[in-house]
């Protein structure tokens, strides 16, 4: 015991504090290494997009999985979020006697923020986790090694089609989320709350313009790229066993989601500056 104690860190509060500092240092090192790894992975992926022509028979099944299969869940989410926005905003607007302005708030929130972020979140949950689990299983069962052993590049075959699928199809999914959200908001406001449809749409048209819509779509390109890269990276670096695959799938969603929120904040700030540049008069006031 004496020999063991001499090799151990100091006991008590000092020892506890030393351990925390060491853990923090390890966490920081792991984080920096992880970010570097994903950056190299991203550069290799982008390189392979241009290095070789993409194969239709590889692209189409991925596009189908990412785009077509995600459509129902994205549409459903958009529909309900539109209705929830109407439910939550109605009381406040009614108190001010501005019920007819409800459409402008619902639709502006949807096309600028909620549509893109929710479409991306659903994509991260449905497709990101599945990609990490699938590639993780391929890693564990040596299928990725098999690709390499046959002189094929795993990034070209496995990552590029998923990356392009997310990048190209997330705008379409966002359009669907926006559309269904607008529809849901209108349905609840007009049919259930009895707001006059003419004023509802007139106000919406006045306060929501094409720039707002395009801004939301533009952001999703970054979200789609982030989801594909983070998820595929987790799959490629999956630890052995069922637990490793499960952890890769969970981490793929959690890290994609956090990255979506961080990107949303910084893109929001930057795009507001862009908006101010093109429209120095500033945003129109809702109330």
């Amino acid at each position: 015991m004496a020999a063991r104690s001499s090799a151990s860190p100091p006991a008590g509060v000092t020892g506890w504090f030393a351990n925390q500092v060491a853990n923090l240092g390890q966490f920081a090192m792991d984080w920096v290494t992880g970010v570097g790894d994903v950056a190299v992975f991203a550069i290799q992926t982008i390189g392979w997009i241009f290095a070789r022509r993409q194969r239709r028979d590889v692209l189409l099944p991925n596009f189908y999985q990412i785009g077509v299969m995600s459509l129902p869940v994205v549409a459903l989410t958009g529909l309900f979020i539109g209705m929830v926005l109407a439910v939550q905003s109605y009381a406040q607007f009614k108190a001010l006697g501005l019920q007819t302005r409800l459409g402008s708030v619902i639709n502006l929130s949807l096309v600028r923020e909620l549509g893109p972020v929710l479409a991306a979140t659903m994509l991260a949950g449905r497709v990101g986790s599945a990609m990490a689990a699938e590639l993780g299983t391929m890693r564990v069962t040596e299928q990725i090694d098999a690709l390499e052993s046959m002189g094929a590049n795993p990034i070209y075959y496995l990552v590029v089609p998923r990356f392009l699928g997310c990048l190209i199809l997330i705008p379409s999914l966002t359009v669907m989320a926006d559309f269904m959200g607008v529809l849901g908001g209108y349905f609840y406001s007009h049919v259930l709350l009895g707001i006059d449809y003419h004023h509802y749409w007139a106000n919406s048209r006045e306060y929501v313009d094409v720039f707002d819509f395009l801004l939301g779509i533009f952001k999703t390109l970054f979200f789609g790229a982030a989801i594909a890269l983070v998820s595929c990276h987790h799959g490629f670096h999956c630890e052995p066993g069922a637990e490793g695959v499960g952890r890769a799938a969970t981490n793929a969603f959690v890290h994609s989601f956090v990255l979506i929120l961080i990107l949303d904040l910084f893109l929001g700030i930057w795009l507001n500056n862009v908006h101010d540049f093109f429209r120095p008069e500033g945003p129109r006031k809702l109330l």
Binding site: S8, A11, D145, A146, M150, G151
Partner: protein, 306 residues
């Protein structure tokens, strides 16, 4: 190099010297040393069997031979060209001259058997689809699989059929060097023997050299021209070589080295004692860590009270 089988003629375009040279290979994963100073010259047309207990680094050595694992030190040369000196494109091109049969077959789950076997042909040649199908069918015949498996997915096949489909895929580009990773593991004795016969059949192809990693003595006796036995690094003294045997199967059977005898005869021997000692040590560590945690908690409480 023991002369168990007559040397095959070299390919007309093949340079003199060994087909594959492993030169002072060291592989380390973090603090764990897996391969220590391995040197092997592989003559063309021969079948080398690498024997050794689980965890001794056989598969790591096999994957290093094709460049799937980069050595910490040392070099692997194919026809005199160092794998470490090749860029990605050249290495990918060189790998078309290899065939790799993975332990679990490693067929692509999302593709049919036809697409799996045709994969290397479609990746590296411009052969029309109809001709690709003909080649795939002839490969299926060679490994003894019915054509009815072609539209099936790998999960619909038994373990032995998957292994044979994996072998067919490895042979698709008519490789010079075929690497087998535990080809009979997980198979029943009959299917194991079928796989052994297939390895012998592949050896009969002109100019084919094979490396078989296994811990199955039956396979070794049946297919080997030359046997190498690896010993786990953590059981070696610092000055001991990791290759504890290099010779023919007959020489292996005659060896008096207790490490070799234990493996060949399949005896647990002193390992049982080690197992018990390890268990006792685990219990001791567990008890010690519980006691330390209690003591730390007491100290913290004491300091808080003070």
């Amino acid at each position: 190099m023991p002369a168990a089988a007559p040397a095959k003629p070299r390919r007309p375009d093949e340079p003199a010297g060994p087909l594959l040279r492993v030169d002072s290979l060291h592989v380390r994963f973090g603090s764990q040393e897996v391969l220590r100073d391995i040197s092997i010259d592989l003559e063309p047309g021969r079948t080398l069997v690498i024997l050794g207990e689980s965890g001794c680094g056989k598969t790591v050595l096999l994957k290093s031979m094709i460049g799937l694992i980069r050595p910490t030190r040392g070099d692997v040369q194919f026809e005199g060209r160092s794998l470490a000196g090749l860029n990605d494109r050249s290495l990918a091109h060189l790998r078309t001259r290899y065939g790799f049969v993975f332990q679990g077959a490693a067929l692509f789950d999302s593709l049919t058997i036809l697409d799996n076997i045709a994969f290397p042909l479609r990746e590296h040649t411009r052969i029309p689809d109809a001709e690709v199908r003909t080649i795939v069918e002839s490969l299926l015949d060679e490994v003894g699989l019915p054509r009815s498996v072609l539209p099936k997915k790998p999960v619909q096949l038994s373990g032995g059929m998957r292994k044979r489909a994996g072998l067919a895929r490895a042979l698709a580009l008519d490789p010079q060097l075929v690497l087998y990773d535990e080809p009979t593991t997980g198979l029943d004795p009959i299917m194991s023997d079928v796989i052994n016969e297939l390895i012998i059949r592949v050896r009969g192809r002109p100019y084919v050299t094979s490396v078989v990693v296994t811990h199955d003595m039956h396979t070794a006796r049946k297919v080997a021209d030359r046997v190498i036995m690896l010993y786990p690094v953590f059981r070696l003294r610092p000055d001991e070589p990791q290759v504890v045997f290099d010779g023919t199967v007959e020489e292996l059977d005659r060896s008096r080295d207790p490490r070799i005898r234990q493996f060949v005869e399949g005896r647990a021997g002193a390992r049982l004692m080690e197992l018990r000692e390890e268990q006792a040590r685990d219990h001791e560590i567990q008890a010690e860590s519980t006691a330390t945690a209690d003591a730390d908690a007491d100290t913290l409480e004491g300091e808080a009270d003070a």
